[in-house]
């Protein structure tokens, strides 16, 4: 079953084209990496796939639903790690997750489980602004999996994670459909059988999975 079906996704910021005519099909359980230089359109693509950004043109279906008509319903289905961790600096790691448990409608006890999953049990009661950038990133990843989403959209989740990136991400990605943007091609190859390369908002593609936009 196709989890993501994108058809001609295009996004412009004013006159600047960030994404142009991108077609994409991703099946359930597939892991796909998005590669490209800075400004290639990776974050724009991931924000569109996460339904955080409405594309200028094109169609997107996620789990068979229109991604923008049914955006609210899809919130239960997908988890998104954005470029910035977006944490509350004055709240502890546990409080950050417990707050999002309330928003996700899941039990607060789930926060403790997730802290253990992302290796933050020891710093659960430390304020987010006292955590290192890598630890904050772990917390942001933990927040994205609180509700056990079936689709994960990860925008450079390996940033600042260091040596533990592979173990953490492979554990978190297990059993879910994943779109992951990264600059680390070696990590992408280890985590994702499929890769899409973007340049100036266009896919340079890898033949078997993508229709290359000319």
């Amino acid at each position: 079953m196709s989890v993501i079906v994108a058809d001609g996704l295009t996004h412009r910021f004013g006159s600047e084209v960030a994404l142009e005519g991108l077609d994409l099909v991703l099946d359930s359980g597939e892991h796909m990496a998005v590669l490209g230089e800075n400004g290639a359109g990776k974050t724009t693509l991931l924000r569109v796939l996460a339904t955080a950004l409405r594309p200028t043109a094109g169609r997107l279906r996620i789990a068979g639903l229109d991604a923008f008509q049914e955006r609210r319903r899809l919130r239960h289905y997908l988890g998104y790690v954005a470029h910035a961790p977006g944490l509350y600096p004055a709240l502890s790691a546990a409080e950050n997750l417990e707050f999002f448990c309330d928003l996700q409608g899941v039990s607060r006890s789930r926060a403790a489980d997730v802290l253990e999953t992302v290796g933050l049990k020891a710093v659960a009661h430390r304020r987010a602004d006292q955590l290192s950038r890598g630890t904050q990133q772990r917390l942001a990843i933990g927040r994205a999996i609180l509700h056990e989403p079936r689709l994960l959209i990860l925008d450079e989740p390996d940033a600042s994670l260091g040596a533990g990136a592979f173990d953490l991400l492979s554990g978190v990605m297990h059993g879910t459909t994943v779109v992951l943007a990264t600059h680390d091609q070696a990590l992408a190859n280890r985590l994702c059988p499929r890769t899409i390369v973007l340049r100036h908002g266009r896919s340079l593609g890898t033949a078997t999975h993508l229709r290359v936009v000319q």
């Binding site: 996460a50 239960h76 977006g86 600096p89 004055a90 309330d102 928003l103 996700q104 304020r127 927040r143």
Partner: protein, 220 residues
């Protein structure tokens, strides 16, 4: 029930953050003390005119303290990139908005808890239940409108400039009705019941309108 849970969680989170960082309350307290000092020295106050000047100082201090308090509600979320994380959850944008308005209103009530006794002490304004009720009713509508416009301007650069421009004209009904209610509670001419009735009407109108608009403001 779920919406209430979300709104309370958002309000609790905001108030807990404020309690730990103390970013806003000291600034608001300083603002109120300055307003009282300026009022005290700017007018020639004696026992005859103090009670007529006090309501003016009350509403001036509340309006400007409110602009500071509501301006930070969404600006902080934008700065730390946490608003998007909240909006990426299934939680209703209306419940998120209600929680933020509730927390900002609570901060304004804290200011009022300092301002009203100070006005009573220095200007001889009676600290009656009628005055407190008028101020609290005005706070409800002002919080709803202030938070809505704070959400609208949070995404633009000139938000500090835009927020008063958008908010102040719509706060005028609360200042007029609240001012009338406080004056009549102090024994000056005017119907207290009528002014309070107007405040309740404005509260209902603006709470409903802002709740409807919040969904579109936050969701897009």
């Amino acid at each position: 029930m779920n919406q209430l849970r979300v709104a309370l969680a958002v309000a609790r989170k905001d108030l807990r953050s404020e309690w730990r960082t103390r970013e806003l309350v000291p600034a608001l307290a300083q603002f109120i003390i300055l307003a009282l000092l300026i009022g005290n020295f700017g007018f020639q106050i004696d026992s005859r005119n103090a009670s007529t000047i006090a309501p003016g100082i009350l509403w001036l201090a509340l309006v400007f303290a409110g602009l500071v308090a509501f301006g930070r509600t969404f600006a902080a979320e934008r700065e730390q990139a946490s608003l998007e994380a909240m909006l990426m959850t299934p939680a209703s944008p209306v419940a998120i908005f209600a929680g933020k308005a509730l927390a900002a209103a609570a901060l304004l009530v804290v200011c009022e808890m300092v301002l009203l006794p100070a006005l009573s002490l220095f200007f001889g304004m009676p600290l009656s239940g009628d005055v407190v009720a008028a101020v609290l009713l005005a706070t409800v509508g002002m919080a709803a409108l202030g938070c809505l416009f704070a959400a609208v301007v949070a995404r633009v650069r000139a938000r500090e400039l835009l927020l008063p421009l958008l908010t102040l004209p719509l706060w005028i009904p609360f200042i007029i009705a609240g001012g009338l209610a406080v004056q009549s509670a102090m024994g000056l001419p005017g119907s207290y019941q009528q002014a309070i009735g107007l405040l309740i009407d404005f509260d209902i109108l603006f709470v409903v309108l802002t709740s409807l608009a919040a969904r579109f403001v936050l969701d897009e």
